[in-house]
């Protein structure tokens, strides 16, 4: 495991940095999708895995970021990159506002309420609230990336944009582990009551985790909007949230597990196109099988970092 961290990750990052130059445009597009969804899955991991909150509405924040970028670009002519601060801050703010009143809800209810947020979001954009979301069609025809006035129209530019976002996310997650907030979340997961008794304000840290996860997902949304030059409601339906939720849990809330999960879900179907219609059937089967064989995920987080929800609790009724 140590070796993996020392050599595996740098190797993977080097491969990722070089790879797109060797790919044809179709596989570049697949690789970009992989990067975007990895970032969303990691942001979901902050909320679900690191803070232990049953969130099944991550596509909401992802979609919010994408829509913010699309609206600012198509309606107000902002360059794509200039929309980034808004695409991070607004979802983060919504993360705080939405999670505030519900943070104390029991796990299953939190699940349903977050699904609800996701569905309300979809209805808002479908109903073209304020006439800016483009209704059920969404918004098409965004500009290309541009940096200091230079147009970066190639897919390669989008790839490296996505790659930079992934690296940033990895950096944030690494720092989170070491920071005060990360330690607080760690204690929270280990023992909620004990954490409270030593003076950790659980509410604040949980909301913080929600906001952080939402902000990163929003940033991934910007990359998404850039890649497809379009946003539309169905890309952020709650079924997407279900997939991110499942990827984190099937993967085991660890870096390699999540990479593996995103790879299986979004890249394998591209390789085996003839199985495209079987994709969800097979994925569903794999989810069941993975949970039965490895209830803590295919690649569980290392010992000592095991999230609370992965630890078996007694289910005696009162």
């Amino acid at each position: 495991m140590k070796n993996l961290e020392r050599f595996g990750f740098p190797a993977l990052i080097v491969v990722m940095a070089i790879m797109p130059n060797l790919l044809n445009p179709r596989w570049q597009a697949v690789a970009i999708t992989f990067l975007i969804f990895t970032v969303v899955a990691l942001s979901q991991d902050i909320i679900l895995g690191k803070a232990g909150m049953f969130n099944m509405g991550q596509a909401l924040f992802f979609g919010m970021g994408a829509y913010i970028t699309a609206i600012l670009n198509s309606q107000y002519g902002w360059p794509l990159l200039a929309t980034i601060p808004v695409a991070i801050l607004l979802p983060a703010l919504f993360g705080v506002l939405l999670s505030g009143p519900i943070i104390h809800l029991r796990g299953d209810y939190l699940l349903v309420v977050t699904i609800g947020f996701n569905i309300v979001f979809i209805q808002v954009v479908q109903n073209n609230l304020g006439g800016i979301t483009g209704g059920p069609n969404g918004i098409f025809g965004l500009d290309s990336l541009s940096l200091f006035g230079t147009q970066l129209t190639s897919q390669l530019a989008v790839y490296y944009f996505a790659f930079a976002v992934l690296l940033l996310t990895l950096g944030i997650m690494r720092n989170l582990e070491k920071s005060k907030a990360g330690r607080a979340l760690h204690y929270l997961r280990e023992d909620h009551l004990a954490a409270e008794s030593i003076g950790i304000n659980t509410r604040v840290y949980k909301i913080f985790a929600f906001a952080l996860g939402a902000g990163i997902a929003g940033l991934a949304g910007t990359v998404f909007a850039t890649q497809y030059s379009a946003v539309s409601p169905e890309a952020f339906e709650f079924i997407q949230s279900v997939l991110f939720f499942s990827i984190v849990l099937v993967g085991g809330s660890s870096m390699p597990g999540i990479l593996l999960g995103v790879f299986m879900m979004f890249v394998l179907p591209e390789i085996f196109r003839e199985f495209a219609t079987w994709r969800f059937f097979i994925f569903g089967f794999a989810m069941i099988l993975a949970m039965i064989l490895r209830p803590r995920g295919i690649w569980p987080a290392t010992f000592g970092k095991i999230p609370k929800f992965l630890i078996k609790e007694s289910n005696h009724g009162a």
Partner: protein, 298 residues
């Protein structure tokens, strides 16, 4: 007033379908503390199974006997699917962390939904008009035969279920298993069998709900289960999850609520309002309207 009464009738019809489906969620949750995400897709599957039974087994006969036979056969098929589902996807995870079972349920949902697509194809399938189109106009409020059938049959099934659970020994055993599985085992109750019974009842009621959807709306699609499953699950929570009369009340309330929202405010905002209602109720009254019948913790 006509409109109000008409919307009331509309709401009660769809509400009783929600209630039937909600019972499956609430019973499984009550005993297993598991959100059976696959339940909605089972409901969708039952509509397809019913259609196939009609065309392949019944030879498209449209007698009353044929319709009744479709109900019983589909319920039987879905009960078997329910038992298999529980055995393969949930039982091995009985002792596993809570969320593993949730993921397994989501996996089962994807599998069933896409299984329907692989078997019956992605396009909409259309139910024959098995219930004659008969309407009664009562002072401007039009009620159709199928609405009456749905309402009466649903209420009948719900009352039967209520009596079974509240008044029989097996019913008491089900309630006991929901409260405390170990204590139930100490009474000599075979909890595995109770869970199987619950899946049989829940899946059969869901099958009836699925057939109602097919007979009433006629067009069925492989992915319609999510929608009904979600509404029904909300209904179960509204009423207080694990609480059988609660699921019935929640289903009816949700049907009425949606009819009035769609009728008086906007049909395109119905989902949003539904969830806002749910969130408000959970914030004000976290255990649903009638309260939970089980002390669960996560």
């Amino acid at each position: 007033m006509d409109i109000f009464l008409q919307q009331l009738a509309n709401g009660l019809t769809i509400g009783s379908i929600f209630a039937l489906v909600a019972l499956g969620y609430t019973m499984v949750y009550g005993v297993m503390k598991l959100i059976n995400f696959a339940h909605g897709d089972m409901v969708a599957a039952s509509a397809f199974v019913g259609l196939t039974i009609y065309t392949q087994v019944m030879g498209q006969a449209t007698s009353l006997v044929a319709v009744i036979a479709i109900f019983f056969l589909s319920a039987a098929v879905m009960a078997c699917v329910g038992i298999i589902l529980e055995r393969l996807a949930y039982r091995p995870l009985r002792e596993a962390p809570r969320l593993s079972a949730v993921v397994s349920a989501l996996g089962a949902s994807l599998m069933i939904q896409n299984g329907i697509m692989l078997i019956w194809g992605p396009q909409m399938r259309i139910f024959p008009e098995l219930i004659p189109q008969v309407y009664w106009d009562i002072n401007g409020v039009v009620i159709s035969l199928i609405q009456v059938l749905i309402l009466v049959l649903s209420l009948g099934l719900m009352i039967a279920l209520y009596l079974f659970v509240e008044k029989t020994r097996m019913g008491a055993a089900i309630r006991a298993s929901a409260i405390d599985q170990d204590a139930a085992r100490l009474m000599g109750i075979n909890v595995n069998r109770i869970i199987a019974i619950i899946f049989i009842i829940g899946s059969s009621l869901g099958a009836v709900g699925g057939l109602f959807i097919g007979l009433y709306y006629r067009g069925i699609t492989f992915n319609m289960g999510w929608q009904y499953g979600l509404y029904a699950f909300i209904a179960a929570i509204l009423g207080g999850i694990g609480n059988i009369p609660g699921a019935m009340l929640g289903g009816m309330m949700l049907g009425l609520f949606q009819a009035f929202i769609a009728g008086y405010i906007s049909s395109t905002w119905a989902d949003a309002f539904t969830f806002i209602l749910l969130i408000l109720i959970l914030i004000v009254r976290p255990t649903g309207l009638l309260g939970e019948r089980v002390a669960g913790k996560v």
